[in-house]
């Protein structure tokens, strides 16, 4: 069964460093998402991406964040200068998009980012 994959599973970085989190969505999906979950809290939406551009972004997704689909398979989230409060689990998700409707979102296993 097709699945969303994410790398790395765990990333430790120092405050101020840049990190890139990588995702490979399911191959026939057209909508891509990033969510994050701070430890002990609920999952929060960061950004959605469709047709090579951002479809929607949350207040969390400020100028420190960017997303890219560099090729036909990868979808990346970059944090330019990490802060302690960026420590969280980051989930990538993808969904089918047909006739202006999006369907079930499939989540990857997550990347746990620890900023020290």
């Amino acid at each position: 069964e097709p699945e969303v994959t994410q790398t790395p599973s765990h990333q430790v970085t120092q405050m101020g460093q840049e990190v890139i989190l990588r995702c490979v969505p399911i191959s026939n999906h057209l909508y891509f998402y990033w969510y994050r979950q701070i430890l002990g809290q609920k999952v929060e939406f960061l950004v959605s991406f469709y047709n090579n551009e951002i479809s929607e972004k949350s207040e969390i997704f400020d100028d420190q964040f960017s997303v890219e689909r560099p090729d036909g398979s990868n979808f990346t989230l970059k944090i330019r200068s990490t802060k302690l409060e960026d420590s969280a689990m980051y989930f990538c998700a993808s969904s089918v998009h047909l006739a202006d409707k999006t369907y079930e979102q499939y989540f990857g296993p997550g990347t746990r980012l620890t900023v020290t």
């Binding site: 998402y33 929607e56 999006t102 079930e104 979102q105 296993p109």
Partner: protein, 110 residues
């Protein structure tokens, strides 16, 4: 935006018991999903259920879209069912971001 509320926040069961987890949402939605977060933090898709009833083994879910709630039923609970259960709702198309509830922490005791 959509508001999602889950109840109860915590649930403790004896192995073999049945349970009902509730999710209320504030608006007419096109997507309603239930997830189980395992001890490693992974979100496991349980149901995609914008309306109607579905069953998968000991788990079943019902969404009554007109009354803006969804229920997740767990029968004959096992210790491996322990974890956090999230429901999440969204519109479709350009507004398809999922809004998650705060989750229900289920503990099943042997």
């Amino acid at each position: 935006g959509i508001q999602v509320e889950q109840s109860p926040p915590d649930l403790i069961l004896q192995e073999g018991a049945n349970s009902t987890l509730r999710c209320n949402f504030s608006d007419s939605v096109n997507n309603l999903q239930w997830f189980h977060q395992n001890p490693w933090g992974q979100l496991i898709n349980l149901f995609y259920i914008p309306s109607g009833t579905k069953q998968n083994g000991r788990l079943s879910a019902t969404t009554v879209a007109t009354e803006r709630y969804s229920l997740l039923y767990i029968s004959s609970s096992q210790t491996t069912d322990s974890g956090v259960y999230f429901c999440a709702a969204s519109y479709t198309g350009a507004n398809s971001k999922l809004t998650f509830g705060k989750g229900i922490t289920l503990s099943v005791r042997p």
